[in-house]
Point group: C5
Chain length 331, copies 5
């Protein structure tokens, strides 16, 4: 548990307080107190109950790690859950990490089981320019949420790139393979997850920016609306990617279907040329006594010529149907 | 019919009352009376009408067993139907069991035709820590509903596992078979059923947690909101599973389609190599008198060499198209 | 036109009144008058205009037979259209029959072109237990609507059974045939029709049970809510059946696709075994002078052995790919 | 520009007024003035601006011909656009024609670029029974809109018939052809267009019948509700046809897929019977010296018998799989 | 940065002011000041903050170039983002260009990174008829937005034409190729993008035309409603195009599937005719001693006749099934 305090009078941030000092720090309404709990112990959780008197269910929700984003107002504080992007996320396996938190009249609590990049960034920011805290805890929370949402942007770019790459792969596909299919499936799952999370997050920020919570004052609303705009964009793009990915699947299936056409054409062309020729050869391989052609001087040559003529006719037939010729068959 | 009474003054739960004692127990508003009817008799139902004066239609609804979850307010009591997970449920055959009930100012009635695990759990809990009843009947009902919703979690895990397993099966599929298809169908049906039930349940809990019913007091609302959050998660996951299962079907169809490609490639390669060779053999099997090659010393060897050359050209042709080589054909 | 009158004071139902007596019967507000018009004549319709003074457009709506369920309030009466299930309906051809009606302060009018089972049932009921009328015309209407909705249940069971049967047929399908396809199409159309009708009917009953119409008094609302619950179930099941039927279509297409795989495997296996063997036979059927194998003592036996070896290799190749063996190919 | 005036006092309709008389006619509030502009000139449009003082944008909207149905209220008048069915419309090419209009306290203006059947019908009606105008301009407008909506009915019947016919064609399809596909596409486009138009028209009539516009008095509302009911039916049927047409496409694709199965079966049966026989013939066509069967007396007959036995075995094999026999292969 | 000022008293537009004159120009409420910033410098942005005192977040939003259309009200001004069509847009690659702006009581600010056609058009218009400014800044903004929306029309026509052309290509398709598929994909993506943008733009104009912003006075609302109608049409057509394009994809897949049928028919016909003939030739190529037909005088002729008969029977068989004959096979 790390405690950062901004002293409004002195325009500076100080750190390194102990839990015991918390009640006193909170009593001074001019302070902005940020308590960040990373991988909290049971003792830390006890602080939430004993010092802040949060509802036991919210503390339990913090401890569990399977919640969707939400925000709830209690008398004197707001409880929220948002999801940040995991550092090791990739388009094939989109993963989020839960951030729980509380916003009070002069404090912000953040609670997370693992290292959280956005939190670290905001801490760094506060240390270098403490003035960011001057506008109160709602602005501090805005800073944190802004960072959380900002980390979605590179993920979206990764999706963009991955889908582009996938489409290239599909259209230059040598052979239909299940691997591409599995990739499409993974991407789809990731995008659906992204959309689900960001839709819920969008809803939270809409409520925050609409002035539903009195702890977020009127003049803070444009800042929250700004984050809201960002997350709307994330949701819109997720929707867009979903469309593109289902388009990719259609393209893949269609490419596979085109290849089957190509394969069957090759087979048909070979069969249609070879079967008649083989038949003619078979005819003159018959052992009838009375086959005058066999004894003709030009019989053999004649048979060969007939065969060539048939082959050429076949080739012309298929060429006119557009089955052969004009560059690579896969167009 | 089992009657449990929590005596608020004495902080204890007593059991074993008879039907005749009910009116007296109910008269004392400091009691919290829980009447649990498992596989109720006609006499039990008569109690609902005569002692509690519930609307005859609600008692009829209890008796029937084909209702969806719902909640209705009457003057002085709430009537609700929720669905618990059957003990013998499985991802292929998701089944629910109906729990009807009434909530009054100082009582909770539960009514079910079969053994109900959640009910048994709450009874056990009450016997060990009667204090759970101190917060009144709305809290007791919350305990029951919480248990009902908790039993959905293992089912969701089963779905998760089953879908994962299915996808593995599909991508390592040896031959397309109708059994996998039937499994996908069964899973889909189960998930649709789960989603339908949990959506309706979600609606009930939303109304309960929003303070629509005055029998659920203000301070109980966070507890109901907590159950609501759980059931939202169930619904969301059901939605998610539906997407995954329809993805599985697409994957299955695509894998089958890939296999057809593979089969046709094998056929085409065999035909395209064998047909020309057979044709050449046919040519030299012809019985023309005047076929100089036949009498040449190297005729036979020459013919064999031509055949090998043709076979090699064909193999190269198909290898360059990516139809043969590079590991297993199913990629 | 049949007129049934319940005399509230005398607790009995009397019949056989003539049109001329209607105004007098209606004047007595303690009467509950039910006028049922089956296959009405023009004279009957005139009664609606002259005696009851209904809006001419509603009477015209009655006469026409192409309306969807609806309910409209006019000053002093409600006009409604509901759809009952035709007696000759089947899952492949779901048909409804229109019932028009009016509800006034002390009367119910029902108007239908053909025999209507629900109406007959309620008449029968009234004759045996006239007390059902004591609660006034709104309760009488509830009885009729309850009967109308009850007749949907056997239809739903028929759908259930038919879809089960269809799925069995699909999975044991000997050959793809257009008949199953046509059946799926018919079922789908029926279910869409059922859903359309019951959705509209649901809307009507929701409005009736919410107390929108003052002619349906407060204490009648649970009864209408009960019918509403039934029709919600019908709609939900129709939705469910729609999902199942589109699942059936997917299953059918997939089974057809599996069969194509099987067919192509048979062809490929035959070709891949026979073509090389035929080629070898062709080689030794060539007429070259210098073919030493031909004159060897074991040439013939050797050629046969080579052929058998090739056939066995091919069989092993296909067996290892899972194309042959292990029970029936259709899994 | 044609001007019809109903003189309320004299119960008659007179015609043949000039533009100059318009202001005077309008000043008499007991008149109902109908100005119909077919293929209006610029001078006509000037009347709209100068005499009626309509908003310039609405007059511009009239002139343009690419608007969707809409209704807008201005102070003193309503401006509306509705779409009628073109006389030359067909299920493959559904076309509408725009009708613009204004409704004032004692006038109705209709504006259309081409001949409009509904307008002509209402004019005819007025001339024969002028009483229709007695209820004022809102009733006159109702008459016009009623006619407009009535002309959708034959179109719906045409769609019905066309879709039935299409399904018959699909199920008795001799060969898959792109023409049926193109027809399905055309029908789908028409139905989507019909649905789009009628949905917008539905919205207009809903607003008109709900009493949103004070120029449509209370007692006119049932008449507008009646038109609304008709257009709801049109929209519902359009929705229905959309479902049927996408069902047709599925059926077509499935029939094509069944045919491929049939084709492949024919190929496989021929190959599977002929290839082994040809192989046997090939074996006895080999030129080995030491082939005792060749010199046996019954060698030839034996070979033929073996061939027949193989052919019969093959036929039984395919017959037991259900590939041959039992009537027409297309089931 | 270009400054145009309309002096209400003098009915003229003057240009060429410097930034320093701005405060004075704005102080005179009878002026209508238009500040257009094309590719603004940092100094220009400073003007937004220092002279106009806009919220810093809005200025930041201007600078960034990845926003969706939106409108936000601040005290004293409205901030909006709309998207215009890029000049180089095409149906395969629909692109928009962002226009940010502010509307105040006597000014309009437009801000764009690149040349913006609509802006140039309105400037041109003002110079020729300055009276357009007389109705105030809201009317000026209406002029700009009207131009922006007008530029969507040619794009829609391009889409129309492109889709028509695509369908023609599909139905006259010589060989399935991935290029058409890629085109369908590109078009679909463009249309989805167009729909997304225009839906958001529609929402903005709905809010502007409904009188949500007091800076847009009552009498301006019909003008904004007019633009709204245009953008509704754009959105509707985008929806329509989306339907048509997914119809095209279905058509393409179906055409490909028809071609596979054709290919397989060709193969099957060739095989079914040639295989039996080759077999017969094979039989009479056998070397049995005792084959009486071989020594018959008419043996050879007889064999040939049998072959011809078989070929004819096969042709009749396929002709009766409708596989051959009657014009081009692709129907």
């Amino acid at each position: 548990m790390e405690i950062l305090v901004y002293h409004r009078g002195e325009h500076r941030v100080s750190e390194g307080f102990s839990v015991e000092q918390l009640p006193e720090l909170l009593r001074d309404q001019s302070n902005v107190v940020w308590v960040d709990m990373e991988a909290p112990t049971e003792k830390d959780e006890q602080v939430l109950l004993d010092v802040f008197h949060f509802h036991p269910l919210t503390v339990e929700d913090c401890r569990e790690n399977r919640h969707y984003p939400k925000v709830e107002e209690f008398s004197g504080y707001i409880y929220f859950i948002v999801h940040g992007v995991r550092a090791d996320t990739s388009p094939d396996r989109f993963n989020t990490i839960e951030l729980d938190g509380f916003l009070g009249s002069n404090y912000v609590i953040t609670y997370h089981h693992d290292m959280f990049r956005s939190i670290n960034n905001v801490k760094q920011l506060l240390r270098t320019s403490p003035v960011a805290c001057q506008r109160g805890p709602a602005f501090l929370l805005h800073q944190i949420l802004d960072q959380v949402v900002d980390f979605y942007s590179p993920v979206l770019d990764d999706f963009d790139e991955r889908i582009d790459q996938l489409e290239d792969e599909i259209f230059t596909l040598k052979r239909p393979n299940n691997q591409i299919l599995a990739e499409i499936m993974d991407l789809k799952r990731s995008v659906l997850r992204l959309r689900r999370i960001s839709t819920k997050q969008m809803d939270i920020l809409l409520r925050m920016s609409r002035g539903e919570f009195h702890l977020i004052p009127e003049d803070m609303r444009p800042f929250y609306r700004d984050i809201y705009d960002h997350i709307v964009r994330v949701t819109d793009l997720a929707e867009n990617y979903r469309d593109l990915i289902s388009g990719s699947l259609e393209a893949y299936l269609s490419v596979v279907s085109n290849r089957l056409n190509e394969i069957m054409k090759v087979l048909t062309i070979f069969s249609a040329i070879m079967l008649p020729l083989t038949f003619i050869a078979g005819v003159y391989g018959m052992n009838f006594d009375n086959m005058p052609e066999l004894h003709s001087r030009y019989g053999y040559a004649g048979a060969l010529i007939v065969m060539i003529v048939i082959a050429v006719i076949m080739l012309i037939f298929f060429w006119r149907r557009g089955w052969i010729g004009r560059g690579e068959p896969e167009g």
